[in-house]
Symmetry: D2
Subunit: 430 residues, 4 copies
């Protein structure tokens, strides 16, 4: 399904330079994948915004395109004329340095430009990117293309989580894609733990290859001996928490978590619904029985933290996780495997499921690393200005695009948010 | 533009009975007009809801269809199977007797059923209506068809006011239709008044032909001598009020009005924008300079009342208006003339513009007439349950469908609402 | 209890002029009664505001005093120096013409001036009023004193309803005064109706003696024959409505009423609480079992209207009520009788309880009478600017001060409000 | 001013045991200080709640008393009967394990129990504490007394910050106490920095003497070399930031901070008002000109962070601060010095003002230390459940009671809060 399909970009694959080819290929693939992900959706599906956290598909498609136009083409492609000057207002996300923009909560009002016009906009910008890539690139431009690819990959994941939030809000509960036979019938492996030694470890990105600014500077952290669960917490385990009165026991919760539980009438993870004979959950594969062996998905930090307290454990810190992740290959069930839902862990009592399936909530606030400085200009707004009130998630999910992850990757969300593919893994002192 | 185009309904025009033919013809025309009104819009335009007051075009198209299915076909067409059982939840508007429904503020989440499916739903119901009309109708069924026609006509007006509210909220400010040349260049006729004698008058609908339940019972009202302006208040006059500090003078306003002005930062009618050299206003014809000679449009009751106080007049009561309306022909610039905006009054110092152009705010609360009883069952929820907190408007607008109005017609909205084509006419004691 | 106790004012009762003496006496009595009503309260009770509708006792005491200072003393007492210039900001209620003021919802923040200072303010102004009254008064000044007396009487009623709203919000549920023995044990008289002929009747105040501007102009109204219940609806009857599912049956309610019921979780009148063996209600006499024979109190217009619909009746119009009230003496159980709660009707199948006990919701929107014009200046803001979105209540309550009522008196509140002593009486067509 | 004045407690000072005496003395002093702090206030001042963050004085006085009753007397004083069973509902703050309670935002509704009753409640509990202390205490009871003392000290600081928030909201802007002559006329010392070496340091409380649970476990932290300003940022420096457009420059702010600035219309620290010739600020000493040499007070984390970014520095981490604090004596201008406002730093280019004057915002999220476990039972709710969404502040303020601080002391507030005596100190990498 995920093969490139964007004709304009695909036709001249560059052959000359040793470095840019792969950049161009990856750009082509990334741009094609966005279009591919929108394909199962009607134009109507693409325009509506289900809530303030989520953006419409069409907006994602246009915003990622505008990103290349605003930060790359206008600066580096001589004579480039923007497709439509008014699109900057429509499709700037949050770059204060760039200027005024459609308010975030009103992205769903943009019936115009139409989906057709947005597709034309994508083609226009792809064609211009193609021209840009025909000539040798300055390092700065190459870096911005790399950033643009990674940026678009993030929006690919958001596109899927956001369309799920829309479909879950619709009375007809449509599926993004039909489920494959056999999904959801396996049994969970028993919970076990792996121990890690303490010490001073280097963490953070070392500067080789692309990384977001928030992954550095690489620095030393003092880590105490710890134990980490070999797999994520499953739906079955989380249902035990529910049925033990987890959502009705204030002493298990952080104060802000408990206020949220009461204020929002939370009684289960997002998209869960109690039905006769068990729990159902809305997913990209439709409204389906919960797979007890699969990782619990769509839980907030508050729920993850309360579950861990109930179970007698805690969440890992992001540095514990990063040290542990150094011991396993950088692979997992991400978007390329096309499950579109988190799958049960397999493989016995070793550390697994560190990448893919669900993002794992860390017990670490999202803060700058020592010595962090945001880049100057609009691109510097990418990560730094969000370093407050959020928690770190690590490891990627079943809808994270291939090649997007790193061991040092730091995702971050507010502790009440749960519409992403979020779960947890238990940890403890040794 | 407004010719019937719905093939299914159009093909067998009944010829036999003396009474139903015209009902059938009017049904066919009405159903066709709805489709016609949606034609300039893309499917994306039809799905989005700009605010809680407005509904998406697609919802209007489906809801009016559901109305015939729920209240007519299920009862009167033997063997009728509903198109899709889930549509009742999706497209019931406010009928508590019928059951649960999509919350009003979330009608814009319904990307499914798609616009195509809604069109198929319309064709399916039209075909069933056609079959129903092939046989002699019971009086009750005929009455419900009549109600369904009038109901759909109301939604046609709403469809246009609601799409305007969406387009006005979009940064690209699209026009529903291009303006004709020459619109907006005339000069207003001077304001003059017509006097009416007092006395006891019969008002309300006399029961011949269709009327909504809220127009009756016909009864006597004691009316004092009064004067009524020959035409509506113009944009030019309203701009004088603005420039005289009308929106900054609390003593001109009702207390609730002043709170609204302050709370909502109102400084002009809805869709107005101050520009160099004058005012612009968003309209179905796009974002255009205000026509100073045309009736001011999109003002709330609060603004109408404050303007009247500033001008030294008052709003007429609905019974004064009805008595005055008895002296002029039931005709005006409504949807059939296809202006899609209010036009300047023409014709000298006689009473004019009583029908069409803009709904006129009355100084009358929307309350039941003496002896009013709502009909039993769901249809009884049509009007009666809204008889609180709203004010009456009379006379119809430039987007009221042909044949929909009566001299006794009572429209009603909350005093803060202004997204309809609402204006005012001055009155005073003699 | 209600004897004058304000020494400053009481000591020189004027003896010379034929007209002002009674005005002075009434002023003295009124001023004294306010102090008397505050006496059972601690200073702490007097400063807190339980909700945005209610004002603190201290604020009432100061605002009524400011009213005399601002509208009377500053204009008519030569050389008068205000007690404290800053009090105008603190104690102006809603007079936009006068200037900025403490926001209504923040009256409860005024711990300063202290209750002692407010008492000193009252004494200071009383003494100045005394001096003013020593000399012949201009008609305009006399009229403003009359207005000030009536204004203060209104605030006396509010003081009691507002302190009840505070005490009801407190966990310790204090009583304003202990109940007398024997309250609440009688049985209700059966419901019966009196018929009235139709015709054209004069209504509104005829200009002799004091009345608020909203009671005029006197004018003719056409009234149809009607029937009016001989007494108010009782708690017992209202509990039948509750137990018949009244609060769970949407078709009994106005749409706005139903939204309020759902949005506010209403299941009974305000201050009701279901207990073992029946209903309790918080009152000025404390938290006590509901007296089944007494008029239901603290119901909104929505509840009154829904009850009437459930019972097969309707609410009377304010003109029907006024015509009927012309047939009975202007007397009832008001504040002077010192019950502090509505009492059961007594006296058989004749019209009774028209004055006192509970204000009765009318099925009439609060609108200006034909030819109404607000007075110029700040005093003109008294009534006119509220003529929108409210409903009329007639007849006074158990906490309306003696001598305050008239047959033409129009009270008004929003249809959702119920913290006043509000009930209803049924009516119907003949 | 701060001498003990509570007769009941003061009269039998224990003389026998070597350990409890000082505990008893400190208990007596602490209880007496609370009463002393309330003395300048009228009972009305003590009952009102200015906003949801602040509690009324009376509530603080009663809650701290209830704390001893609920956690100490009921368990350890045989035969103890509570003063009034209903007070638990009224004066429990947030202990879910204890039960239901008056909602936080409605503490200001409690006009009952009256201030007199609360004073009697204090005397009653003090007397019981006295009896308890007459006998040898179990270690657990002694620990709870220690906790109760520290708890009450925290509320003493809150009492002052909360009464300031009330007085600042009042139009008459009363002073809690008159200012001493000469306050506010000095000049700020120049800004300079002290350097610290990096390394692995032990931080957190070592268990000797009392500390809150959140200060431990003591553990090692890896710290990089850093520089710390010798004094806090002054009002004069902060005004430079304001006048350089700090509040209008989005790129200086965290995203959540910028949303707060826009949403709340912030243009200066809390209680600041721009006046002719400079800035005024409401304080416990009344509404006074800002002292340019004194530490800026009443800034949020967002403002502290934005200022630091503008100045080219950053906030210190809590561990950097704690290491630096190890180098200076544990003394500063706290409540005992009775300034009631932050004072200019004095003493040249060495580290100063580390304790007292203003709490300093740290760039550290408030999270559990490694191995932290909340105590079992209600007391375990003291700190742990707030470890989310807040930031750490260090060092105490001008209104922190004597003897309350430690170098390991961790205060915490939400980043938008600023009604405490909060300021900042700059830091940087070396």
């Amino acid at each position: 399904m995920m093969s490139p399909s964007n004709a304009t970009l695909a036709k001249h694959k560059p052959k000359t330079e040793s470095d840019t080819p792969s950049l161009r290929d990856r750009l082509i693939e990334t741009r094609a994948l966005s279009a591919e992900l929108a394909r199962p959706l009607g134009d109507e599906d693409q325009v509506v915004q289900a809530n303030d956290d989520a953006s419409p598909t069409k907006w994602h498609l246009a915003h990622t395109t505008w990103f290349f136009e605003a930060f790359l083409l206008k600066r580096f492609l001589p004579g480039y004329q923007v497709f439509d000057e008014r699109f900057e207002y429509c499709f700037n996300s949050y770059y204060e340095s760039v200027g005024a923009r459609q308010p975030r909560g009103k992205r769903g009002l943009l019936t115009r430009p139409s989906a057709d016009e947005v597709r034309a906009y994508r083609a226009f910008v792809d064609e211009a990117l193609d021209r840009l890539l025909d000539k040798p690139l300055s390092p700065e431009a190459a870096e911005l293309i790399e950033l643009g690819i990674n940026h678009e990959q993030q929006h690919q994941e958001l596109l899927l989580t956001d369309i799920l939030s829309l479909f879950a809000a619709e009375p007809l509960k449509p599926a993004y894609r039909a489920a494959r036979p056999g999904v959801g019938v396996s049994e969970a492996e028993p919970l076990s733990f792996v121990s890690f030694d303490g010490g001073v470890f280097e963490v953070g990105h070392d500067g080789s290859g692309f990384a977001y600014d928030n992954e550095g500077p690489r620095h030393e952290e003092l880590i105490r001996p710890f134990r980490l669960a070999t797999r994520c917490v499953t739906n079955g385990e989380f249902i035990e928490f529910i049925e033990d009165g987890g959502y009705a026991t204030p002493t298990l919760w952080l104060a802000d978590g408990w206020n949220t539980v009461k204020g929002q009438d939370w009684t289960a993870p997002l998209y869960f619904e109690k039905a006769e004979g068990g729990y159902m959950q809305m997913s990209l594969l439709g409204f389906r029985p919960v797979d007890l062996a699969a990782p619990v998905t769509h839980v907030s930090y508050y729920e993850a933290d309360a579950f861990a307290r109930w179970a007698g454990y805690r969440l890992p810190t992001e540095f514990e996780w990063e040290v542990a992740a150094g011991s396993v290959p950088l692979q997992g069930r991400t978007l390329g495997q096309n499950h579109l839902c988190a799958m049960p862990a397999k493989g016995g009592a070793k550390l697994k499921q560190m990448f893919g399936d669900v993002w794992e909530w860390m017990g670490s606030a999202y803060l700058p690393y020592p010595g962090f400085k945001a880049a100057p200009g609009a691109v510097g707004e990418y990560n730094g200005k969000f370093m407050c009130n959020q928690f770190v998630l690590r490891g990627g999910s079943c809808v994270t695009p291939e090649g997007h992850l790193r061991r040092t990757y730091r995702n971050f969300f507010y502790p009440h948010q749960r519409w992403q593919f979020m779960g947890l893994r238990l940890a403890s002192e040794v």
